[in-house]
C-alpha cells in the first residue's frame, strides 16, 4: 500500500516487485489504447500480427540478419574510430580536427552519398560507409565531451603516482571513463537502427529490413510497416540491454553511487 503512494512521490525508491506491476500495468494501458483507438488508419494488433506472420514467410528473418550484421559492423567500426578520435583530443593537434568532425552532425547525407559511392566498391561497403559516418559524428561528439569533462584532480592524482603523461591518459581517460564510453556507445548504437532505413533505401541491392520497410510504406501497407517497426524495436531493446549488461559486468563501480539502481 505504501509502495502505491510512493509511486507518485518524487525520488522514492520502490521495490522490484512494484516496478514489475507498474510496467505491466502501463504496457496493458498502451495496448488498450492501441486496440480501442478511434484512429482509422492505425492498424489493429490483429492485423499487425497477421502481417508479421506473412512477412516472416516472405523472408523477414533473413532480412533482419542482413540488417543486424550490417548494423553491428557499423557500430563496431564507428565505436573504434570515434573512441580513438575522442581519446586523441588529449593531444592539442587533434582537437580542431575532432571539433570539425563533430560539426558534421548538421549535414544531411544528400550529396555526400555521391562521394561515398565513388569510394565504395560494393553496395554493402557504401551502406557501411554511410552508417559509420552518420553514427561516428554523433559518437565522437559525445565521447569528446566526456574526455573534456574529466576534472583536473583526476589527472593530478595519476601524476602524483609517478605516471608519465601517456600512462596518465591510459589510466584516467581510457580506463577511468570506460563506464561513460559504454553509455555513449549505447546511445549511439540506437542511432544506427534509425539511420538504417535511410541507408538501405539508398542501396537496395542487399535488401535488409530497411528496404523492406520502404517497400511496404510505398504501397501503404501500414500493418506491415508496423510489424517491421515492432521487430526492429524488439531487436533494438535487446541490443540496448546487451550493452547495458556489458557495462554492468565491465564497470561494476558505475552504479554504486546511484539512488535508482
Amino acid at each position: 500500500m505504501n509502495d502505491a503512494i510512493h509511486l507518485f512521490a518524487p525520488n522514492k525508491v520502490v521495490s522490484r516487485n512494484t516496478v514489475r506491476w507498474l510496467v505491466t500495468f502501463q504496457l496493458l494501458m498502451l495496448v488498450a489504447i492501441w486496440v480501442f483507438s478511434p484512429t482509422v488508419f492505425l492498424p489493429k494488433p490483429g492485423e499487425v500480427f497477421q502481417s508479421l506472420h506473412d512477412l516472416w514467410f516472405e523472408g523477414l528473418g533473413s532480412e533482419l540478419i542482413t540488417s543486424f550484421y550490417l548494423n553491428l559492423q557499423a557500430i563496431a567500426l564507428s565505436a573504434i574510430l570515434s573512441l580513438l578520435l575522442a581519446y586523441a583530443t588529449v593531444i592539442p593537434f587533434f582537437r580542431p580536427i575532432v571539433a570539425l568532425l563533430s560539426k558534421l552532425r548538421f549535414l544531411s547525407m544528400v550529396g555526400l552519398t555521391f562521394f561515398f559511392t565513388l569510394m565504395a566498391t560494393s553496395g554493402h561497403e557504401l551502406k557501411l560507409f554511410l552508417l559509420v559516418f552518420s553514427v561516428a559524428v554523433f559518437f565522437v561528439t559525445g565521447m569528446a565531451e566526456v574526455v573534456a569533462a574529466i576534472p583536473k584532480e583526476s589527472f593530478d592524482l595519476a601524476r602524483t603516482l609517478r605516471m608519465g603523461e601517456w600512462r596518465v591518459v591510459y589510466e584516467v581517460v581510457v580506463l577511468g571513463q570506460a563506464d561513460k564510453a559504454f553509455e555513449v556507445l549505447r546511445q549511439n548504437a540506437a542511432m544506427g537502427w534509425m539511420m538504417l532505413t535511410m541507408v538501405e533505401g539508398i542501396s537496395r541491392s542487399e535488401g535488409g529490413v530497411g528496404a523492406m520497410l520502404l517497400n511496404q510504406n510505398k504501397h501503404f501497407h501500414l500493418s506491415a510497416v508496423f510489424a517491421i517497426q515492432l521487430t526492429i524495436l524488439v531487436l533494438g531493446l535487446g541490443q540496448d540491454y546487451a550493452i547495458g549488461l556489458l557495462r554492468k559486468i565491465c564497470c561494476p563501480y558505475a552504479e554504486l553511487t546511484l539512488e535508482r539502481k
Binding site: E153, S154, D156, L157, A158, R159, T160, L161, R162, M163, E171, L175, G176, A178, D179, C251, P252, Y253, L256, T257
Partner: protein, 273 residues
C-alpha cells in the same frame, strides 16, 4: 627538553614566488625542513604551514608537490640540485581522490607497482599496510563504498607507497569530528615515525591540531601598508620551533598548560594578520 640533533636538509623551499596575471600570490616564501635525529628512536618530521583562508596555502602546496611551477624560486628535495617533480612528494588532497574505477586493493597495487618492480614484494607491502591501517576487509570494495575515514587512510597509504618519504596533506583536519580529529593526528604521527626520513607537511588553518602534531610551524601572512590595507603577495611571517619550546614527542601534550599558552600565542598572531 628532549635531546636531538639535525641531519641533512630534506626539503627546501627557496625564495618561491607565484603570480597570476601579474598579481602576486606568494612572495619570496622560504622554508627548510631538516632531518630531526633523536638517539634511540626513529623520528620522522611533521611540519605545518598555517595561514588564513585565501593566503595561498593550496597554491604553495601544489608547488611543493611539483604539480605547478612557481613564477620564480624553486623547491628541491634531499639536496638534489633539481626542482621537485610530480610523484616525488606524496600528495593527499583535501577530498582524498582515488581511482574510482579500481578497487581499494587495485588502487594500492597500482601505486606500489610504480615504485616496486617485483610484484610479489609490492603485494606483500600493500597487504602489510592494509592490515596496519585496518582496511584488510575493505580490499575488494570500490572507493565509493568506503567511509570518510577509511577513504582518508586509503589515500594516505596510496601516496606513501609511491613517494620518497614525503607526504603533503591539504587541510587534513577540516570537517572532522573530535574522535576523527584525534585519530587523524595519531595517524599522521604514526606515518611520520615509520621511517627516520619520513616527512609530513600539513597545510591547514587548524592551529591546535597542527601544533599537536608538528615539530615546526610556519605562519603565512601578508604585509600591511600604513593605512592597514593588505598588500598583495603572502610570505612566511613567523617560524615556530616546537622542539625548542618543548612541545614535541610528549603524549597528551595538548592537555599541558604550556601547549595551550603556545596555541593562544599563535592565535593572537593569526588574528593580527
Amino acid at each position: 627538553m628532549a635531546s636531538h640533533t639535525y641531519g641533512k636538509t630534506l626539503l627546501k623551499i627557496d625564495n618561491v614566488s607565484l603570480e597570476y596575471d601579474g598579481r602576486p600570490i606568494l612572495k619570496n616564501v622560504s622554508a627548510e625542513i631538516k632531518d630531526v635525529i633523536r638517539p634511540g628512536c626513529t623520528t620522522g618530521q611533521v611540519v605545518g604551514f598555517l595561514g588564513p583562508s585565501g593566503i595561498g596555502k593550496t597554491q604553495l602546496f601544489r608547488i611543493v608537490a611539483g604539480l605547478n611551477p612557481p613564477t620564480s624560486g624553486r623547491v628541491t628535495i634531499n639536496g638534489v640540485d633539481r626542482p621537485v617533480q610530480a610523484g616525488q612528494v606524496g600528495v593527499v588532497a583535501q577530498d582524498y581522490p582515488l581511482f574510482e574505477h579500481r578497487t581499494v586493493l587495485s588502487n594500492l597495487l597500482l601505486a606500489a607497482g610504480q615504485k616496486e618492480n617485483d610484484s610479489k614484494v609490492a603485494h606483500d607491502k600493500v597487504m602489510q599496510y592494509l592490515t596496519e591501517f585496518e582496511l584488510s576487509d575493505k580490499a575488494r570494495l570500490y572507493p565509493v563504498q568506503l567511509s570518510g575515514g577509511q577513504r582518508q587512510r586509503c589515500a594516505i597509504i596510496q601516496q606513501i607507497l609511491c613517494s620518497d618519504h614525503f607526504l603533503l596533506m591539504d587541510e587534513p583536519f577540516s570537517g572532522l569530528d573530535l574522535l576523527m580529529l584525534e585519530r587523524t593526528c595519531a595517524l599522521i604521527q604514526k606515518v611520520a615515525n615509520m621511517d627516520e626520513l619520513n616527512t609530513i607537511i600539513v597545510v591547514t588553518h587548524d592551529i591546535t591540531a597542527a601544533a599537536s602534531v608538528a615539530d615546526h610551524l610556519w605562519l603565512m601572512g601578508r604585509d600591511h601598508d600604513l593605512n592597514g590595507n593588505c598588500l598583495p603577495g603572502s610570505h612566511i611571517v613567523e617560524t615556530y620551533d616546537l622542539i625548542e619550546r618543548d612541545l614535541c614527542w610528549e603524549p597528551n601534550i595538548i592537555t599541558q598548560p604550556r601547549f595551550m599558552e603556545f596555541v593562544r600565542e599563535v592565535k593572537d598572531r593569526f588574528r593580527g594578520l
